[in-house]
Symmetry: D2
Subunit: 381 residues, 4 copies
């Protein structure tokens, strides 16, 4: 079943890049955006490095420079035309085949549990990259002068519509257990379930819609320093921000770039592509606030049906290790386990999250200035 999961995941990544032109695979229009080529290679490099090179004695490294190019996020990946896109597809196929072959001989392997764990981790990382890939593709295409479409219909960023006015769910005071309990897969940062006391609160029964956020824009929010955290206001000025990423005013009406091309802003669509500063300022302006990540997870425990979300929801929690956090030792721990400073946690998954990838304990995290992910807002009061 893991092999099937592996093969399905590998295939799905390639489905996602089908609509691209060769040129789209190599440009990097912002330092924090990775090229599609890099995503394709990086997710293969993981299996090559941590499974094939580690456990298959006769395995020959595919190309020694690939580690330098594809091991880490690389702010200069947009400088590299070589290896070509075609070469990277060959690399993917090579790795997938080698791993499938290895799988057949795996039964007798004494390291079986460890190998399975690594393959499972790699599959989850590749799923994670599928959402990043989609966000990066949207950014790359959205930067082009002609705003090309990614697909013609059923894009992940266009389907969801709010069906009714926003309501509130009451979550009672109490001790809640937060974090992943030891069953099923989870990333290291979710582990170490622990108790958190929460006072009673009310949480919105869905994410904010475009219409609701438009009121904020039209109230002059992007020109009113008082509504923003100091660094948020700096961000507004520096970027001459007038709204969420991809929003433009075209002849007096709001449009945005979607994976289906430019469209009029859908009033009942989920607000997407706001950063933490926008989320925080909006919540305060509404007389509410953002949930902490513990509040978010507790709300899921009490009212799960209302917490599935079309967007990742910014929380008011900094990304910090849970009390019992321990990163794995060695290079794998180095690869997956380092906490990163200055990020805020997002919860809830999104329409772009691959099916089956998300869990209620999932901790997404981003620098507070980032808008390019499918990120939105849920209110708490």
């Amino acid at each position: 079943m893991l092999l099937k999961h592996f093969l399905k995941t590998r295939a799905w990544t390639e489905v996602l890049v089908k609509p691209l032109e060769t040129e789209d695979f190599v440009v990097q229009p912002a330092e924090e955006i990775m090229t599609p080529k890099w995503h394709l290679a990086h997710t293969s490099w993981f299996f090559e490095n941590f499974v094939l090179k580690a456990y298959v004695p006769e395995y020959q490294e595919y190309n020694p420079v690939y580690t330098a190019l594809f091991e880490r996020f690389e702010a200069r990946s947009g400088l590299y035309s070589r290896p070509t896109v075609k070469a990277i597809f060959q690399y993917r196929q090579h790795v997938s085949e080698a791993l499938a072959l290895f799988w057949k001989q795996l039964n007798e392997n004494k390291a079986l549990p460890d190998i399975m764990k690594r393959i499972e981790l790699g599959v989850h990382l590749e799923e994670q990259h599928q959402e990043l890939l989609l966000a990066d593709i949207k950014f790359i295409l959205g930067q082009q002068f002609l705003r090309p479409k990614y697909i013609d219909k059923d894009a992940p960023d266009t389907g969801w519509l709010a069906e009714q006015a926003m309501g509130w769910n009451e979550i009672p005071e109490g001790l809640y257990t937060i974090g992943h309990e030891p069953e099923g897969f989870a990333f290291d940062n979710e582990k170490g379930a622990h108790k958190v006391f929460l006072a009673a609160f009310e949480i919105a029964d869905r994410a904010i819609t475009n219409k609701e956020y438009l009121e904020f824009i039209e109230a002059g929010a992007y020109a009113d320093q008082h509504l923003w955290l100091p660094e948020g206001w700096d961000w507004v000025l520096r970027n001459k921000a007038i709204g969420p990423l991809y929003w433009e005013q075209v002849e007096g009406s709001w449009q945005y770039y979607t994976l289906e091309g430019m469209m009029h802003v859908e009033p009942d669509g989920p607000l997407m592509h706001v950063n933490y500063f926008e989320a925080e300022a909006f919540a305060r302006w509404k007389g509410a606030r953002l949930p902490t990540e513990a509040e978010w997870e507790a709300a899921f425990q009490v009212k799960p049906d209302y917490m599935y979300s079309p967007v990742w929801e910014w929380t008011n929690s900094a990304y910090l290790p849970y009390p019992g956090y321990r990163s794995q030792a060695g290079p794998l721990g180095e690869f997956t386990g380092k906490m990163k400073n200055g990020r805020m946690v997002l919860r809830g998954g999104s329409l772009a999250t691959p099916e089956g990838h998300w869990r209620p304990s999932y901790r997404n995290h981003l620098l507070p200035v980032r808008q390019a992910q499918f990120s939105g807002i849920r209110l708490l009061r």
Copy 2:
């Protein structure tokens, strides 16, 4: 009694700058350092703007450009030679006298409670600036080629010595009330006392000493990327850091700049002038971690005698609003109340904190790269 507190505080600020030369008042050797002149003026501007201009109808603004120069932290304050230092002392005296005069007529004033609150707030802000002033003076003098002394003896950064090996205090699991309860003065960010559940932990019975931190340095910490958070390692490289601020190797032995001039590093002295990245890396290297701010405050409730500290102690909590946080409305709220993004909380006060200024709920907060405050480390396991 408030007037006495006011007058004493005003006087003490001036005592602190007595040892300076005129030139020391105007230079700004780093963007985040404020000039002593600015501190002197800013703390006067508060009383002029929020008390005298607000409540004394006949009060004439001392100089209309002072708001532009002294209302806010100003990254370019080191460009201004004028007004002169002498002019700022005159401004201080003018404001102090006008306020003392106003005080005499205050009894009949209907706004008395509000006025009292503002004066009280101003006094606490000035006390806060006294510690910042001392840290900035140390930085300014410490940057000079000749490393002049600030005073000859009894400097706040030289007295304390650890008397014994570090031990651990047990703090039991339980629900603790964190934050300032409504009695006595507190800044807005401490208010909104709330319950926090904590698992049992052990916390060190004193702050880390220089000797203890030297082991970390001598183990090669500043050359080992694996020990650091990614941004911490970036900081090490960018600054070619080899130890805490003010530490130098002179002919094979460690010396540091103190307010009494260059000295050999005192092994039993409190480790000072480390940033969050250094504190976090050291704690992890010791197999321990930093406390959260709730853990710190709970420990104070259980074992207060052990929690008084010669240094501000970095916690592993981001500086974020308490659940019930509300900033005051209007310009005063704007002035005092804005949360700031990306900072980490420090707890515990320091030898440079003015007497009577600190409370257990006190939340100091700094960007994680900052070393210039009197900041150190306490471990938790």
Copy 3:
């Protein structure tokens, strides 16, 4: 004959990019490097904008965003994956065909002389871009981890070898006429021939070879501040320069990237890819100096056979207008005529200059830090 020149030039540009992969057309590994795609489009845009749109009433603009993308040097051209490379080849063909068609109807056109002049100018600009294109291709391929070859043999940067030791030619004192005299094509900046008095001098009878420059490197030049102009030394430090662009020490011997891939440095090959600071420092170190551009041109008048060069030779003349310089009025003048500040003049053409493109009055000019062109050194004493 002009049409033939036009068609041959258009075709040659496309021959030059034949060896590239699609991906190589879109990356921009340094701000001053243009993508091959941009070169292909820009040289077409010239004919579309200044000939077809200006003189063919029924001509429909190919795509209105192409002016925004391709009119000017664009520091962000590496962000654009669209239009695709294929689309740009179609654009080229469209423009070439439209111009050839227009040519047939040209005889009766009253603006014939002006139209001919513009086509001629466009052809010379495209030729100029052919050399830039080659330099940019070399830079792009040279930045790749695997250093792919551009061609297998007979690359423009590998053929020339010095046949003998450097000698000196005497150029007598006198009044020389410098600049282009009104016959044949020249760019605006060469026009305005004028007399210059020159004292007698001796000029080297060929460009410097790699072997000669290696002595400078091996004498420790890149570690000796005294040999450099202040800004040159800043450049050395900032770039950790150890030699000309593309030079590397591989296991103790010097290699360089050429259009045929990595090679051992050919001792008798022409020194290439040095910037002005390197040229100036080398000349001074040899007890000589660089020629001024007037000296260079006078030397060509006296000893033409010795002045043909495999590399553009840095002169010690700033790029400034000749006394009688007038730029053309209107948008064409704006396009071609603006002097640029802070550049130094290079003379002599190179092995990469298209045949027939160069004249003795030709003024190439570059910022003094640039190494990516085929630039070398000739000495004067």
Copy 4:
């Protein structure tokens, strides 16, 4: 007589700083501005280092850190409050007295000619710094919010008025000798007199006035990209330039900061504080151009009475070595002789140039963006 010149120069430097407050000596409001304290110290360091330390065996270095602080232009000199201003005056006095004492014993010294040359050079350097000091003082005071006066009347930047409309002088074609001929003092960069052939030209009989430049401003020059060199336009945008340095529009009329405080712009006063880009754009807009430095010097030979100027006049010559240029060997050559890249030459002296300091061959030179010197425009056609 040299001693007298020395003593007079030393005294005059101190007269120039009399009007300053202590604080004015230490601030550095722009990276290229030196603090008055630095000027005072640097000009003393020259005599200490190149005369006293070099030739007086028993001389004790005043303070070993002064070389680090005062040898070179120092972009961070505004960080140093110590040594105090008072200490620097003591240093000046110490050096002056030691040199005067040394002078008395000089007759028997075998190195007399060399020593005399060094003292003479030092005196000329200190004179040069007197003008720089005045420009830096103007900049420092002009940056203060309250725009304090330097002096009450007879400031060097306010006296001169044009008496009549601008006319033109004809300078005939011919061979002119440019550069300093070996008699009297000159800096190295003026030496190496050489012949230059010039075509006939007409040169304005005085510098441009404020009124003449105002026409350029009011014609919309600072909003019209077409009038500027590309880098000039970048400068306009980056600095939001609306006119010369110190010019402001106050309630609809133009005022400027002078050493006597804010004043209405004097129509017949000399245009000052423009940079090369402004000078070059203005000249082109007038259908004229800037002279080359050879043209300027030739004009002085033909019509000296018309070439004395209240401002340094930007030429269209890059600052490059004369053909026969040789810098002196050793540290003194290193100190005085290095050519600097990217600068343009200014000719003519100014009202701020100390009496007797200037010669017709004098080559001032500045980066083309600089406005802070007393720099203006003379036209040529």
